[in-house]
Amino acid sequence: MQVNNNFEPVIVAFCCNWCSYAGADLSGTNRLNYPTNVKIIRVPCSCRVNPMFILRAFQKGADGVIICGCHPGDCHYTSGNYFTRRRITLLYSMLDFLGIERNRTRLEWVSAAEGAKFAATMQQFTEDVRKLGPNRRLEDLRCRKQ
């Protein structure tokens, strides 16, 4: 397989407003670097992330999707992240079925105090996705960037 050295993955990050988005802000405040590939979408809670959004991202050409929520037990809405955990587990089996690499989707718990963890997670995830190469399976070629 040919490895494209110039490959820059497109990564969509869903961050819950109360913990992870604040954690992302903190990594900014602390000037902790992570790749520009990561673009964050703010959601009220990680449980707002419909698996449909993740599939849509892959369809539109994203190479990786990461969902960040509060740590278990810390959810602002008390139980939202537990729903997320279950839904993502189910999504994994569907992605397996479709033949999409599991490592393209990740669920991470990042608290508002974990700026460093946020940056490190994003760095790691970008590297992992870069190694996987471009997402070709689910990409809708009609949506392909010209």
């Binding site: 497109v10 969509v12 407003n17 988005y21 604040a22 992302a24 802000d25 990594s27 900014g28 405040t29 000037r31 902790l32 670097n33 992570y34 520009t36 673009k39 964050i40 979408i41 703010r42 959601v43 009220p44 809670c45 449980c47 707002r48 992330v49 419909n50 698996p51 449909m52 959004f53 849509r56 991202a57 539109k60 050409g61 994203a62 602002h76 809405y77 008390t78 139980s79 939202g80 729903f83 839904r87 940056a119 949506c143 960037k145």
Partner: protein, 663 residues
């Protein structure tokens, strides 16, 4: 056609140093629907805000995107600015190009590229933003306090002080709770009744406070500011309005062998009774399980002696419905049952007692009139052994996993009081750890050791065996001198763990509040919101939230009152408009959303729909109460038909953002 304005902030050099702001403004200016795209040094400053306001007026904008710092910082600033010139504040979107772009990236080219993409996502989202209006919901200016112990009393008094009506619902015939049973209080050793009973009287005399004694909450409906509560007034077979509390009936009642709960069953009461002399309300109650008249229809002595005719054998349970703005839970605690701890012989030997029983044995109003006597043979005990942590700090299968917090202190108090009153008594305390965090607490414990010569021994009691001579053999380990001890005790006192009242769990279900695995109510935030539950309008007071001593309980009672007053002061509450709503035409009433809602905000209504063939059909559809919904969005994902959506973060909005980022 949308008319969108884009405003790119330099934030001094914070953004401008790594992001080419002019290029961002230029690129976003070409996005569909964007009619003006500007950059400015400090968008959040007065002049920056004016720039935005002027542009809204001049170009008649239908939505604006600010590319600046985090929305957690200045979203409100720009929303207010937009609202001041007549643009709905929810038509403002922020693209975070400082914390999530300029501050973390170093290369201008890639950072600019990312800033443009973030800007495009925000533009794509704002296209779909709908104007939202924060709803208002009125507040009923009346509070309900569930539980009439010291926590509930303190909360009720404080709320009444602020001028609001308060109802106390107490399941026992009198308010006062556990504190009424206690003899002295640590660390000052003042008499519990002397400080509690004036507060009880104050409750009964305050015209803002209404006491529903011998009552329970049977149903709760509604939401913050507007609860409808059904209170079950249990039949006490005595007309409260007529009874004067003279007590003649309790003297004449022939059924005198009923175990007295107030004295922990250490003596007997009559079938018609007033729990204790200072009871509030001071009204007699008939115990239907023991009353001859109610059981066999033969007796009726009390009704004959009652001069005011208050006795009513035909009284039924009554249900009353009342509206409240705020509810304070103060259901308190109970010592655990000691049946499963055979090793302490609690069930075999009358002289093995719990600490609460000892309180009654020592109390001047108790079964022995304040003289400490053994329950079995009414002699003075000369050797007393206290056992700490009975059922506390256990594995889940053996008892309670938590520390009951109050036992170390009350045991020191008991030991000290006994040594003070009966210096010829030897007192042993077996402890695992002595935990005395609190003002003057460790000093108090040291006094017990140093001044009163109480023998504190590190080690647990393994076995308690009643002997034929009436003594009790206590077998224990002394860990510090590494030996096994046998003590011939006269009285053994067990510091039983405390647990939440049994009524707490069904109540939590009714209130849709959360509990931990030990049935203690969970606070909204363990540090920053310790007296509120996660459900709006429900507050927590006292030991229902966790083990607490009296000063802490009173402090929390007042804190809960302050929070409730803060709510009751408002004429109406503004609701967060970013709440879920369901498309009734798509909803099939499957209940998926209701099951995931942590707030119980979703109910189902039967609604008439006009069908294509001009008939009407009644369908069950979900309906979200916007005053209760907190906007987490769990339901939107659970909904199989896609009928549920969230204002401000709708499916189409998030999809548009995804598309813009991936494009």
């Amino acid at each position: 056609m949308q008319r969108i304005g884009v405003f790119v902030c330099h934030c001094g050099t914070n953004i401008a140093a790594t992001v080419d702001v002019k290029a961002v403004a230029e690129a976003l200016g070409h996005e569909p629907g964007v009619v003006i795209s500007q950059d400015y040094q400090y968008m959040c400053s007065e002049s920056g805000q004016n720039l935005v306001k002027d542009a809204i007026k001049e170009h008649n904008l239908t939505g604006i995107v600010i590319c600046s710092c985090s929305p957690r910082m200045h979203e409100n600033t720009f929303r207010k600015a937009a609202a001041s010139v007549g643009l709905n504040p929810y038509l403002v979107e922020i693209a975070n190009i400082r914390e999530q772009c300029s501050w973390i990236h170093k290369e201008i080219a890639t950072a600019t590229e990312k800033a443009i993409i973030l800007g495009k996502a925000a533009v794509a989202k704002v296209h779909l933003n709908a104007p939202l209006t924060a709803g208002e919901s009125p507040v009923v200016k009346r509070a309900l306090v569930i539980g009439g112990g010291i926590a509930g009393i303190q909360t009720a008094l404080d709320i009444a002080e602020a001028g609001f009506d308060v109802d106390i619902v107490e399941k026992e015939p009198t308010i006062g709770g556990k504190m009424a049973q206690i003899d002295k209080t640590f660390p000052t050793l003042d008499c519990a009744a002397c400080i509690l009973t004036p507060k009880m009287v104050e409750c009964s005399q305050n015209e803002k406070i209404h006491i529903h004694s011998f009552s329970e909450v049977s149903d709760v409906k509604g939401f913050v500011g507007n609860f409808t509560v059904t209170i079950k007034k249990k039949a006490r077979f005595v007309d409260e309005t007529k009874c004067t509390g003279c007590g003649l009936c309790t003297e004449k009642c022939p059924m005198k062998k009923v175990p007295n709960e107030f004295n922990m069953g250490l003596d007997n009461r009559t079938a018609i009774y007033i729990p204790f002399a200072q009871a509030v309300p001071k009204v007699a109650t008939i115990d239907p399980n023991h009353c001859m008249m109610l059981k066999t229809g033969k007796c009726g002595v009390c009704s004959k002696v009652c001069s005011v005719g208050a006795i009513d054998y035909k009284q039924q349970d009554q249900f009353i419905e009342e509206k409240y703005g705020a509810i304070v839970v103060a259901t308190g605690f109970n010592p655990i049952k000691l049946d499963k701890y055979d090793e302490f012989a609690y069930n075999q030997c009358a002289d093995v007692v719990t600490s609460l029983e000892l309180e009654r044995l020592m109390n001047a109003a108790g079964p022995n009139g304040g003289t400490l006597l053994r329950p079995s043979d009414k002699t003075h005990p000369h050797k007393i052994v206290f056992v700490q942590c009975v059922g506390s700090r256990c594995d889940d299968s053996k008892g309670k996993p938590y520390c009951s917090k109050i036992c170390c202190m009350y045991t020191a108090k008991h030991a000290m009081l006994i040594r003070e009153k009966y210096p010829d008594t030897e007192v042993y305390v077996f402890y695992i750890d002595v935990r005395t965090p609190g003002k003057n607490f460790d000093e108090f414990y040291r006094r017990a050791v140093e001044q009163y010569n109480v023998h504190y021994i590190k080690g647990m009691v393994g076995k308690v065996t009643p002997k034929s001579d009436g003594k009790i053999d206590v077998q224990a380990s002394d860990l510090l001198s590494n030996e096994q001890l046998h003590i011939d005790a006269d009285l053994v006192v067990l510091a039983a763990a405390i647990e939440p009242d049994k009524t707490a769990r069904p109540l939590a279900t009714m209130l849709t509040t959360q509990m931990d695995t030990n049935d203690f109510f969970t606070e909204a935030h363990p540090k920053l919101r310790p007296v509120e539950s996660a459900t709006a309008g429900i507050f927590l007071s006292g030991a229902c939230q966790g083990p607490k001593d009296i000063p802490e309980t009173v402090a929390q009672g007042s804190a809960a009152a302050a929070k409730a007053i803060g709510l009751l002061c408002k004429n109406s509450i503004t609701c967060n408009p970013c709440v879920a709503h369901s498309d009734e035409l798509m909803c099939n009433g499957c209940s998926s959303c209701e099951k995931v809602c942590p707030y119980g905000a979703i109910t189902y209504i039967d609604k008439e729909f006009r069908m294509p063939d001009r008939t009407t059909a009644i369908r069950r559809v979900a309906s979200v109460n916007p005053a209760v919904c907190q906007g987490c969005g769990a339901c939107t994902v659970a909904c199989p038909s896609g009928a549920m959506d969230l204002n401000g973060f709708s499916n189409s909005q998030i999809m548009a953002e995804v598309d813009a980022i991936c494009k």
